[in-house]
Subunit: 130 residues, 2 copies
DNA sequence: CGCATATATTCGCATAACCGGTTGGACGAA
DNA sequence: TTCGTCCAACCGGTTATGCGAATATATGCG
């Protein structure tokens, strides 16, 4: 039964829930889409996506330097049922709705060919501002 | 969405899952039934039951010195659906089946009027054995 | 009252989880 | 090849969680 506890542990984090919710509603997203939409650091985004990947809930497809993440069909019946219940419940959750709005806004304003939000030069520029 | 993460956190522990499973299959159990069946310390049993109680998943009914725990109807639709999926999945889980066997065995051999497994004198007797 | 039992709670510690900042590898454009 | 961007992984530090032992509280019996 340890495996089941482990599964719930993966879901027991707000950042990961929000990522799953984004992927419930979009075929594919790259890491920078997720970090921009959720307003989290690149480190945090990558870390939690790795957790979801190790748990078998998402897959990534690499295209050049980008990683596009997407949902992965559940392997166990438990996972399938839990995720379905989660999705249904999030659909009526006010916070979840807001996140989808943020995603749409970001995708609309996203510069074609790279967002550069987490680049070295951008970070250095931010440091200069002080 | 923090509330949902919090809910999953409660389920993300093997001891708590096993307790829930026992209560799925029995109207009421007292703390010593649970600690004997799951072979855990009294402290651990009480602590995790308190967590489940605070999360609103179980209630306790006091009769004298005993506390009888039982399931409590889920308050949110999320909780209801998740717990139902969990129950269904545990029903086919080999480990879960074994635990139910342990419970039956314990209840059959349980001394009428108290189990005295965690009493002061019993603990002291165990210390003498060394 | 004095003592045994059932349960809850506190305490100190170990470990797990999470975090931001940073580093390093991969890749593509110049 | 050098530079800039995307991403994963590492580093140290902080917080959260879980544990057993010990203690506290409540009940009831004689």
């Amino acid at each position: 039964m340890k495996d089941i506890a482990q599964f719930f542990k993966v879901l027991a984090d707000e950042a990961r829930l929000r990522m799953l919710w984004l992927l419930f509603n979009n075929q594919e997203l790259c890491v920078c889409d997720i970090m921009e939409t959720l307003d989290i650091t690149q480190s945090k985004a990558s870390r939690h996506l790795a957790t979801l990947r190790h748990a078998g809930l998402v897959t990534d497809r690499k295209v050049g330097a980008w990683s596009y993440y997407s949902l992965r069909p559940a392997e166990s019946e438990l996972a399938r049922a839990q995720l379905e219940a989660l999705r249904a419940s999030l659909a009526t959750h006010p916070g979840a709705r807001a996140v989808l709005g943020d995603l749409k806004t970001w995708l609309r304003s996203k510069p074609r060919g790279g967002c550069a939000a987490n680049s070295r030069t951008t970070r250095e520029a931010l440091v200069q501002e002080r």
